[in-house]
């Protein structure tokens, strides 16, 4: 196992949430994108995972927009998953 694999596994665990809706959205996102995430995307995903569940859900459902425009490309992938 490489360090990158472990970084992804850490994110996989941290994608376990308090809200079922977020579990489902992130499960689909990870199935499509986690293996290919690298560099800045890994950092942005980690930041998103730090958000409270309700705020993250609002972003994922498109009810609100992120303050940092750098989050948009990854968030778009989450919204489309």
């Amino acid at each position: 196992m490489t360090g990158d694999d472990r970084a992804q596994e850490r994110l996989r665990w941290r994608s376990r949430r308090g809200l079922l809706e977020m579990d489902l959205i992130l499960q689909r996102f990870m199935a499509r994108h986690l293996a290919a995430l690298e560099g800045d995307d890994l950092i942005v995903y980690d930041r998103l995972l730090d958000l409270p569940d309700n705020d993250f859900l609002d972003l994922a459902m498109g009810r609100s927009e992120p303050e940092d425009p750098a989050w948009r490309p990854l968030l778009q992938k989450i919204r489309e998953s």
């Binding site: 996989r12 665990w13 308090g18 409270p52 569940d53 309700n54």
Partner: protein, 587 residues
């Protein structure tokens, strides 16, 4: 093998509402406390609670704790223990005001008092008319509660072990709880925590059902830990269901959709509720609608490849009504069912929401087990609180807004009781020499196994079996077939193999360990439900349609060893008031 060891006065397993409330009580009293959580505490499942906290503050209309007590007992279908229910309803105002003092952002009335919402089942004067009793913080009550309690715990210097999974209790030769074995996910390190006491606060195990509103973390770890340590599980046949969860996802579609004119259809396109409830039809009460839906599915009139759901049709309401009055519903249907309800019906199925049963406790949160003539003798050093515990204040059916109240009242009560107990029991007891042997053997098997059952497949089979055999619509035959199935599945769960053998954030290993806990809960549920030959609250037996107080006004206790059942009486004697005698439950 020598494991690293740390020492505490109290170890709390679970960082949700009840765990945080107990931790705060102990930390502020100066005890050395550790809280273990699989996820960051403010991302516990308490965050999903929206409804509010029930308390008879009387800010909207006249109210009294005795009326709240009556509503709770009636809601429980008389299986709730009346001493614990009186305790909870009398303490409700105090714990709400404390939370307000801690900074909880409650909704307010113009005069500055806490605003209280209406909620089903709450009444004035013993069922005369509805009363507004729910204290809320917009639709984020659980979220606000977790943040408020977490901040306060940090201030009190409570120690958090985040991203740790608790594995097993350690009991000494006298049965006292003297330690906890836990696994750090980041390193894979197994550590022994020597402690004077353990509080289990791990939440519900709703993930035993295929359709569940529970987050993925709700795997009944505390129930598995207790059962493996020889503690029976109480009233596990009682699970609360919501009629309309999105099939295959579990996300709830509010009852408001049927209120606006949405109707339920079976595979033949029939509006089947006309047969079950000719007057109320799709607007009949939750349990009636859930049971009708499940019966349609069981009798082969379900929709889809597996014929495992029915349809909620609302396109006839028109795009304008849907977009204007039900905007959130369209969003949920598009996201989680992949259908646009303006054009197509939403696939729905009765969905598990809340676990009424759990680890047996008294109203101090002490775990109690039968011993000799005493049906409820405390286990020294062991407490359980919140959804994983059965006090029992919810009996056979929980009243809305009483779950958050339960977390606060019994979290605090356990903290207070344990704080007093620690003063009289200042010594750490010795750990048995073989303290971690069984746990390490379990982990070792998983590490060594190169071939075996696939965790995800066994998990799916378990959830399907529980949904099919212990759903809303139950018969003796369905349940006993379910027991046979679940025993095979439980055996498979003990023979899993995982490909990833890493020590660092090994999610596959965690999921294998969670599955071992879930199958214990699943077996307890099926065995307890099969034996209870009556219908009461959330247990609806088609072959025993009536409540049977003569034979079944008692709590089930399921023991893992031999999968045996015992029973103990319901406590019908409140603390200070007259008993509420069982009556037919009519709303």
């Amino acid at each position: 093998m020598a494991l690293p060891k740390q020492t505490f006065d109290a170890v709390i397993v679970g960082g949700g509402g009840s765990g945080l409330r107990a931790a705060l009580q102990l930390s502020e009293a100066g005890h050395h406390v550790a809280v273990f959580s699989k996820v960051f505490p403010t991302r516990s499942h308490t965050v999903a609670a929206q409804g509010g906290i029930g308390a008879s503050l009387g800010n909207m209309q006249e109210d009294h704790w005795l009326w709240h007590m009556y509503d709770t007992i009636k809601g429980s279908d008389y299986l709730g223990d009346q001493d614990a229910i009186e305790f909870m309803c009398r303490k409700a105002a105090e714990v709400v005001y404390e939370l307000e003092h801690f900074g909880m952002p409650f909704d307010r009335n113009a005069d500055g008092t806490i605003y209280q919402r209406p909620f089903g089942g709450h009444s004035q004067n013993f069922g005369e008319r509805p009363v507004q009793r729910a204290c809320a913080a917009a639709d984020r009550t659980g979220h606000a509660m977790l943040h408020t309690l977490y901040q306060r715990n940090v201030r009190a210097r409570c120690q958090f072990f985040v991203e740790w999974m608790a594995l097993d209790l350690i009991r000494d030769h006298e049965g006292a709880v003297v330690g906890l074995i836990a696994l750090e996910m980041e390193t894979g390190q197994v550590v022994i925590f020597q402690t004077k006491s353990v509080i289990l606060a791990t939440g519900g195990a709703g993930r035993i059902f295929q359709s569940s509103t529970n987050a993925f973390i709700n795997t009944g770890d505390g129930l598995g830990i207790a059962a493996r340590a020889g503690i029976p599980l109480e009233d596990m046949e009682f699970w609360q269901f919501h009629p309309t969860g999105v099939a295959g996802a579990g996300v709830l579609i509010t009852e408001g959709v049927r209120g606006e004119g949405g109707i339920l259809l079976n595979a033949q396109g029939e509006r089947f509720m006309e047969r079950y409830a000719p007057t109320m039809k799709d607007l009949a009460s939750r349990d009636v609608v859930s049971r009708a839906m499940d019966q349609e599915i069981k009798e082969g009139r379900g929709v889809g490849h597996e014929k495992d759901h029915v349809l909620l049709k609302l396109d006839h309401l028109g795009a304008e009504v849907i977009q204007k009055r039900l905007p959130g519903i369209r969003e949920i249907a598009l996201k989680f069912a992949n259908v646009d309800p303006i054009r197509e019906p939403i696939p729905v199925v009765p969905t598990c929401h809340y676990q009424m049963g759990g680890i047996p406790t008294n109203y101090y949160g002490q775990v109690v087990v039968p011993r000799g003539d005493n049906p409820a003798e405390p286990v020294p050093g062991l407490y359980a609180i919140g959804e994983c515990a059965c006090v029992s204040v919810h009996g056979a059916n929980r009243l809305g807004t009483n779950s958050l109240l339960d977390l606060l009242v019994f979290g605090k009560s356990a903290g207070d009781h344990l704080s007093q107990w620690l003063k009289g029991n200042p010594q750490q007891r010795d750990l048995p020499k073989d303290a971690a042997d069984r746990t390490l053997a379990r982990l070792d098997r998983l590490n060594q196994a190169t071939t075996g059952e696939n965790v995800a497949e066994v998990g799916l089979d378990m959830r399907r079996a529980v949904q099919q055999h212990a759903g809303v619509f139950r018969t003796g035959q369905l349940l006993s077939e379910g027991i046979d199935k679940i025993r095979v599945i439980a055996e498979r769960a003990r023979h899993t193999a995982i490909q990833d053998k890493s020590q660092v954030f090994n999610t596959a290993r965690i999921e294998a360990l969670e599955l071992e806990n879930l199958v214990i809960v699943a077996e307890a549920t099926l065995v307890s439900a099969e034996a209870r030959t009556e219908s009461r609250g959330a247990q609806a037996r088609d072959d025993f349609k009536e409540r049977d107080d003569r034979n079944w006004l008692k709590h089930s206790l399921w023991s893992m060893e031999g999968s045996r059942l015992h029973y103990k009486p319901v406590n019908l004697q409140p603390l200070t008031v007259e008993s509420f005698e069982p009556k037919v439950r009519v709303y």
